[in-house]
Amino acid sequence: MSDPIGQVLFAGAIGLVVIGIGGIVLSRHLFRMVLALVIAEAGANLLLVLAGFRWDAFAPILTQGVAAPGPMVDPVPQAMVLTAIVIGVGVQALALSLVIKVWECYGTLDLAEVRERLEADLAGQAGVPLPGSTERPAGERPLPPATAPAGEVRQ
C-alpha cells in the first residue's frame, strides 16, 4: 500500500498476466494465442520475482572471501523463475510446432475455422452426423486441404 514503486510494478505484472490471459481466451488466430501466452508467462514470472524483493538488499551473489555486505534478496523465487522461463520456452516451441502442423493440414489459422474442421473431422472419423447438419460426412478428410497453402508460403 505504502510504496508507489511497488504498486506500479504489481500493476505491471498483473496487467501482463491479465492481458495475456485475455489474449489467449479472446484471440481468434492461433499464432496470436501463442504470443499472448508469452506475455502471460512474462507477467507471472515478474510477479514471482516481486515476491522475493527486499528494499536496500543486494543480489544473492557472494564474492570470494567476503561476507555478505548486507541483506540479500530472496534467492528462491529467482531460482523458480529461472525454471519457469525455460519451461515456458519449451511449451512455446511445442505450441508453434502444433500451429505449423495445423496450418499444413487445414490451411487456416483462424480459430473458428479450425474448430469447425476439427468437429467435422471427429464426426467423420466416428461416422456420426455433425451436430446441426443433415448431410452425412463421407468419411475422414484427406490430409492436404482443399485450399492448399502452397501458394501462401512463398511470397
Partner: protein, 485 residues
C-alpha cells in the same frame, strides 16, 4: 527408504537413454521401457514393505525441509505412485521405429512425472512435475498423426498453458503470504493462509491443476483429445493422469488449505462437472466421446467425494478414484475398434462375445450395481454426502442419484445395442485386438477380485484415509526428519 526417489529417477533416465539404446540395438531399445517400469514397481513395493509408521519424509539432496524439496511417503502416495508404473506397463506402446521410440520416451516421461506428483511435498516442485506431465501428454495426444489430433492437441495445450499461468500466480500468492513452499511447513502456517488471499491462492491452484483433473470450467479439451488420440493414450490420460492431478488438489486441501470455503468450491465444481458430463455423455453419438464425457462426470464424483470433510471424504474419494482408475482404461481399450458411432455397434457382441461381456461388466460396476466395487464406492460417497448434513451436500447427493440414472440409461442402451441383431446388409465392427482384449480381461479380473476381497480392501482404504485425512502425521514426519538430523 531414500530409494523411493528411484520411482522418478529411473523412468527419466530410461527416457533419456532410450533413443540411444534403440540406435545401438533394436531389441535393447524395445526392452528398456518395460524393464524400467518393472524395476520401478519393485522399488515401490519395497518402499511399501519398509514403510514404518504412518508417513516418512525424504529430503532430496540431503537438504532438510523447509529449505530443500521433500518427497512425502505415506500409503496414499504409495498407492498412486505404484498405480503409475502398473498402468503405464498395461498401456505400454509396443510400437517400433523412430516414432515408436519417441512415443515410448514420452510415455516414460509421463510415468516419471506422475510418480513425482504422487510423492512430492513441495508446491513448486509439484508445478514442475505437472508441467512435465502436461508437455508429455501434448505430444502423446497427437499420436495418431491426424489433422484432428494436431488441432485438438493445440487447443489442449493452450487451455493447459493458461491453467499453468494461473497456477503459477497461485504459487506466487502463497509465497507472498508465507515465504515457503513446503507443504508441511505451510500446514503449520495456517494463520497466514486462512484469509481471503489464501482462498484466492487456492482457487488459482484449483483452476490451474484442475485442467488435467477434467474439472468443470476447464475441461473443454477432454472430448476433443480423447476422440482424436489413440485409445491407449486416452486410457492413460483419463485413468491415470487425471487421478494424479486430483491427488495433488486433495493434498493441498487436506494439508494446507483448511478453509471450509475451499471444500465448498470443490463440491460445487464437482457437482457441475457431474451434471454436465453425464448429460453430454447421454447425448453423445459416438463411443469415444461418450466415454470422454462420462470420464468428466466420474472425475466430478471424485472431486465431490474429496470435498467431504474428514476420513469419510478421503475414503470415499479414494474408492471412487481407484474404481475409475480400473474401469475407464478398460472401457477405452474396449473402444479400440468400437470407438465410432454407437449405432454402428449393433451386433458387435456376436463377433466379440468376450468384449461385449466385459463391457457389460464394467458398465454395471460404473453404474453401481451391487455387489460390484462401483456400488461400494458410490455407497461410501452417498453416505459421506448425507453425513455432512448441510443442504448443499444433500443437493450433491441428489445430483449423484440423478447422474446414476442418466449413466445407467446410456451405458445400458449401448450394452443392449451390442447384443442386438445387426441390420441386414451391414457388418458390425470387428473384434478388438488380442492385446486390448487381454488387458481389459486383466482389469476385469481385478474388478472381480475387488468383489471377492471387498472387506480387506475396504479396511485398507479406511486405514489409508485415516492417515491421509489428518495433517498431523504429515507435519510430524517432516519434523522428525529435521529433528532427527
Amino acid at each position: 527408504m531414500s530409494s523411493i526417489t528411484l520411482m522418478v529417477a529411473l523412468p527419466l533416465l530410461a527416457a533419456f537413454v532410450l533413443p540411444l539404446a534403440a540406435r545401438v540395438a533394436r531389441p535393447l531399445g524395445w526392452l528398456v521401457g518395460p524393464a524400467t517400469l518393472v524395476a520401478t514397481i519393485w522399488v515401490g513395493l519395497e518402499a511399501w514393505r519398509a514403510l514404518e509408521g504412518p508417513a516418512v519424509t525424504i529430503a532430496l539432496g540431503g537438504f532438510l525441509p523447509p529449505l530443500g524439496i521433500v518427497f512425502h511417503v505415506d500409503e496414499l502416495a504409495l498407492v498412486f505412485a505404484l498405480a503409475v508404473p502398473v498402468a503405464t506397463l498395461l498401456l505400454w506402446p509396443w510400437d517400433d521405429g523412430e516414432e515408436g521410440v519417441r512415443r515410448q520416451s514420452l510415455t516414460l516421461l509421463l510415468a516419471a512425472s506422475c510418480a513425482g506428483l504422487a510423492l512430492s511435498g513441495d508446491l513448486f516442485n509439484i508445478y514442475v512435475f505437472y508441467e512435465l506431465a502436461a508437455v508429455a501428454s501434448y505430444g502423446l495426444a497427437t499420436d495418431r498423426r491426424t489433422a484432428a489430433g494436431f488441432a485438438a492437441a493445440f487447443r489442449y495445450l493452450m487451455l493447459s498453458a493458461l491453467g499453468s499461468v494461473v497456477a503459477l500466480v497461485g504459487v506466487a500468492l502463497v509465497y507472498f503470504l508465507t515465504g515457503t513452499l513446503n507443504l508441511a511447513h505451510l500446514a503449520t502456517l495456517q494463520d497466514e493462509l486462512s484469509n481471503p488471499i489464501g482462498l484466492a491462492a487456492f482457487l488459482f491452484l484449483l483452476i490451474g491443476f484442475g485442467v488435467k483433473a477434467e474439472m468443470f470450467p476447464v475441461n473443454a479439451w477432454v472430448p476433443e483429445v480423447y476422440a482424436a488420440a489413440s485409445r491407449r493414450v486416452s486410457a492413460l490420460l483419463a485413468g491415470l493422469v487425471s487421478k494424479l492431478a486430483v491427488l495433488v488438489l486433495v493434498r493441498m486441501l487436506l494439508v494446507v488449505f483448511e478453509q471450509p470455503e475451499a471444500r465448498v468450491a470443490l463440491l460445487v465444481l464437482g457437482t457441475v462437472g457431474v451434471l454436465t458430463g453425464e448429460f453430454a455423455a447421454w447425448r453423445a453419438k459416438d463411443m469415444a466421446r461418450m466415454l470422454a464425457w462420462s470420464s468428466i462426470g466420474q472425475l466430478g464424483l471424485v472431486l465431490m467425494a474429496f470435498s467431504i470433510s474428514g476420513t469419510a471424504g478421503v475414503a470415499a474419494g479414494l474408492a471412487v478414484a481407484l474404481h475409475h482408475l480400473v474401469v475407464k482404461p478398460a472401457l477405452f481399450l474396449l473402444a479400440e475398434r468400437w470407438g465410432g458411432a454407437i449405432e454402428a455397434l449393433k451386433g458387435a457382441g456376436r463377433r466379440s462375445p468376450l468384449g461385449a461381456a466385459l463391457f457389460v461388466l464394467f458398465a454395471l460396476s460404473l453404474v453401481g450395481i451391487p455387489p460390484l466395487p462401483g456400488f461400494w464406492a458410490k455407497y461410501l460417497l452417498l453416505g459421506g454426502l448425507a453425513g455432512e448434513g448441510t443442504s448443499l451436500y444433500l443437493a450433491g447427493a441428489l445430483v449423484v442419484l440423478v447422474a446414476t440414472v442418466v449413466e445407467a440409461n446410456y451405458l445400458f442402451r449401448t450394452a443392449a445395442l451390442l447384443y442386438a441383431r445387426p441390420e441386414a446388409g451391414t457388418q458390425p465392427p470387428a473384434a478388438n485386438s488380442p492385446l486390448a482384449l487381454g488387458t481389459a480381461t486383466l482389469l476385469g479380473a481385478v474388478l472381480v477380485a475387488g468383489v471377492v476381497w471387498v472387506v480387506p480392501l475396504g479396511a485398507g482404504i479406511e486405514r489409508i484415509a485415516a492417515v491421509a485425512a489428518d495433517p498431523v502425521p504429515y507435519v510430524a514426519s517432516a519434523l522428525a526428519l529435521v529433528q532427527g538430523g
